[in-house]
């Protein structure tokens, strides 16, 4: 094949492979979203906001083994995936706040972030919309003879979409370097997963010959191990894997949804099982505090960057529809 578009980068290193690194990234995601949530409350987020608070371990663990040239497909609830794949908090915050410095010039908001240079091929407003693209990215890597892989994140609700079955079949047939990571946060918009999912998601690949595993999605190391095994297998030509990471979304479907459809006991039990606290327990408190302080700085800087950037005006609407002639 022709030369690669993006040269193969070294693994991203300690940021994702050490306990420190994982904790830090999870903390960054948590604080990023808490900050965005506050901004939303202040009327500063001109778009919908789907918070992943409580689910950080899935993104950080799911990206732990990835290189820059590996691809990730994300969903409507994707800040944590973006940050875990290397998105800059400042530009991401700017996007949420509708600023010209945002990744999509502040026109797209959180469902339309795509940063191809980082291998982040998109959050998505269409449930399941990223699954065919992930299949194509994995095919592209295979066809180019690269040993890169694609990780496709999706919610348990997306398993109801036809593209999921199509993709399992194609990925299995072609032994694509594709890891399906179902982030089962128990709710699908305003209804519980029981309305949406028959049987067991992690077993959906069995009849295609795809290995499946269910992991504790609030344990970043467990997720990293499961996805890491799958990534290693995929890089070696061993084909796809389906990982179901069981977790919980602490907040409503979108910022503003009070989530009255579930009871407090359930929420509280899951809050007590905080993946961030669990990840932090591996660190010594002083180290953790130092990291927290670092993150705080980074988030403040990100917010300041966003706030100091110009609000995107109507002149940006027409840009980026076709290649410049």
């Amino acid at each position: 094949m022709a030369e690669l578009k993006t040269p193969v980068a070294p693994a991203t290193g300690s940021a994702r492979t050490t306990s420190r690194g994982r904790y830090r990234l999870m903390r960054l995601s948590r604080r990023f979203e808490e900050t965005a949530h506050e901004q939303f409350g202040d009327g500063q987020v001109p778009g919908p906001l789907h918070l992943s608070i409580g689910q950080e371990a899935v993104a950080v663990g799911g990206c732990a083994a990835l290189r820059k040239t590996d691809a990730v497909l994300s969903t409507h609830r994707g800040h944590h995936h973006c940050l875990a794949k290397g998105a800059a908090p400042d530009r991401l915050m700017a996007e949420l706040l509708g600023r010209t410095t945002g990744y999509s010039r502040g026109r797209g908001g959180s469902m339309h972030v795509a940063i191809p240079a980082l291998g982040l091929l998109g959050t998505n407003g269409i449930v399941g919309g990223g699954i065919p693209i992930a299949t194509g990215a994995a095919y592209g890597m295979q066809a180019q003879g690269r040993d890169d892989v694609t990780v496709c994140f999706f919610g348990e609700g997306a398993t109801g979409a036809g593209v999921f079955g199509e993709a399992l079949n194609v990925a299995a047939l072609w032994r694509l370097p594709l890891i399906f990571v179902c982030e089962n946060n128990q709710y699908v918009e305003l209804t519980p997963q029981e309305i949406h999912v028959a049987g067991e998601i992690w077993r959906r690949g069995e009849s295609y010959g795809i290995p499946g595993v269910r992991v504790d999605g609030n344990d970043v190391n467990a997720v990293a191990d499961a996805v890491g095994d799958a990534v290693a297998r995929a890089r070696g030509g061993g084909g796809p894997t389906l990982v179901e990471a069981v977790t919980y979304r602490w907040f409503g479907h979108y910022a503003g949804d009070r989530a009255a459809y579930r009871d407090d006991d359930e929420v509280n039990a899951w809050r007590a099982n905080d993946p961030l606290v669990r990840a932090g327990a591996a660190l010594d408190p002083a180290e953790r505090a130092a990291l927290d302080a670092e993150v705080e700085k980074e988030i403040s800087a990100a917010l300041a960057f966003a706030q100091q950037s110009a609000v995107t005006g109507p002149e940006a609407i027409a840009l980026d529809h076709y290649a410049a002639a």
Partner: protein
């Protein structure tokens, strides 16, 4: 359209829809409602609230995120005796069910000779901070499909009367609601059985200088523009809301254009290959010699819908755009 003697009540658009569903489900046990979040949650915007409690969870059914099978539930359900109402949350998602709508539902009568009493409800438009994949206006696509009817009401009363008729219709009807209109109020007749016929345009305002054909969210804007033009310019604007896009009531539109000689079409969709294109085509085919000035399209620019509401609103055509378009038609030739 409302007879003077009928008692009315001020309802929001969504309430008109809700009333229509309640009444038709009360009236006919074959009417069922399936869709994502339509049941216990009462719809993502509350349009279907109360229905599940009233009619039970076999008749008001929350589905998984499976739009193709969702429309299939309607097609197959209708084929075995139901009169299903299928809700596709956002119009943009109807694409995922396109085969079931176009190749299956719309062709069922042609293949079998049998009825296909299916109503597909969905919600279009850039009326919220939802972005490029939740705000599109592709109503023109569906108007190209033989066997399908397409309805797009602009207010609570029409929404109610037309939805009731759609549900009773023996052909598949795509019923397009408009997000930006959900909270808009209008007086709605509260007679026992308020039905409006499909395929009949409503002349919302009589006028003699310019015909403005407007749909969806642009109807109210066109009416506001007409007021302004009357006052500021003394221009008499006729505003027609076709309400049903397929089959289109061309007669009403063309009769008006013949009288006024001037035409503006106003829509939230982008311009190329749109509803406006078809109305212009009909006008030039049938009224060329009566046209006093080139018609003008009032439409969104040919770009994606941005997420922030101020940008989405900057992109959407407004009252000013209609006013400007009408003035243009008055200036020309």
């Amino acid at each position: 359209m409302t007879a003077v003697e009928t008692p009315t009540r001020s309802l929001k658009f969504w309430q008109g829809i809700n009333q229509a569903l309640v009444e038709e489900m009360e009236r006919d046990e074959r009417v069922v409602l399936v869709g994502e979040d339509v049941g216990r949650p009462g719809g993502p915007y509350g349009v279907t609230r109360g229905l599940r409690d009233r009619f039970g969870d076999l008749r008001v059914r929350d589905t998984p995120i499976s739009e193709a099978v969702l429309v299939g539930l309607g097609v197959g359900g209708a084929a075995v005796g139901l009169r299903p109402v299928v809700e596709i949350m956002f119009f943009d998602f109807a694409m995922i069910a396109m085969d079931q709508i176009v190749n299956q539902a719309a062709k069922y009568r042609y293949f079998s000779g049998a009825s296909m009493p299916l109503t597909i409800r969905t919600m279009c438009g850039a009326g919220g901070p939802n972005g490029a994949q939740h705000s599109q206006n592709f109503e023109a696509w569906y108007c190209t499909v033989p066997g399908l009817k397409v309805v797009m009401p602009s207010n609570a009363a029409d929404a109610k009367g037309l939805l009731k008729s759609a549900i009773r219709d023996d052909d598949p009807v795509l019923f397009i609601e408009t997000l930006g209109l959900l909270p808009a109020r209008r007086e709605v007749p509260q007679e026992d059985d308020f039905l409006l016929p499909l395929g009949v345009a409503d002349t919302r305002r009589a006028g003699s200088d310019v015909t403005v054909v407007a749909i969806g969210r642009l109807v109210d804007r066109a009416l506001a523009a007409a007021e302004r033009l009357e006052q500021e310019d003394g221009i008499s604007v006729e505003v027609i809301d076709p309400r049903t896009l397929a089959p289109l009531d061309a007669e009403t539109i063309l009769a008006s254009v013949r009288r006024t000689g001037r035409l503006v079409v106003a829509q939230e969709a982008t311009s190329p290959f749109s509803f406006a294109s078809e109305v212009f085509a009909l006008a030039v085919e049938s009224c060329l010699s009566e046209l006093k000035a080139p018609p003008v399209r009032v439409a969104s620019p040919f770009v994606n819908v941005p997420t922030p509401v101020p940008l989405a609103e900057a992109r959407a055509p407004g009252v000013d755009d209609v006013v400007a378009a009408v003035r243009t038609t008055m200036r020309e030739a």
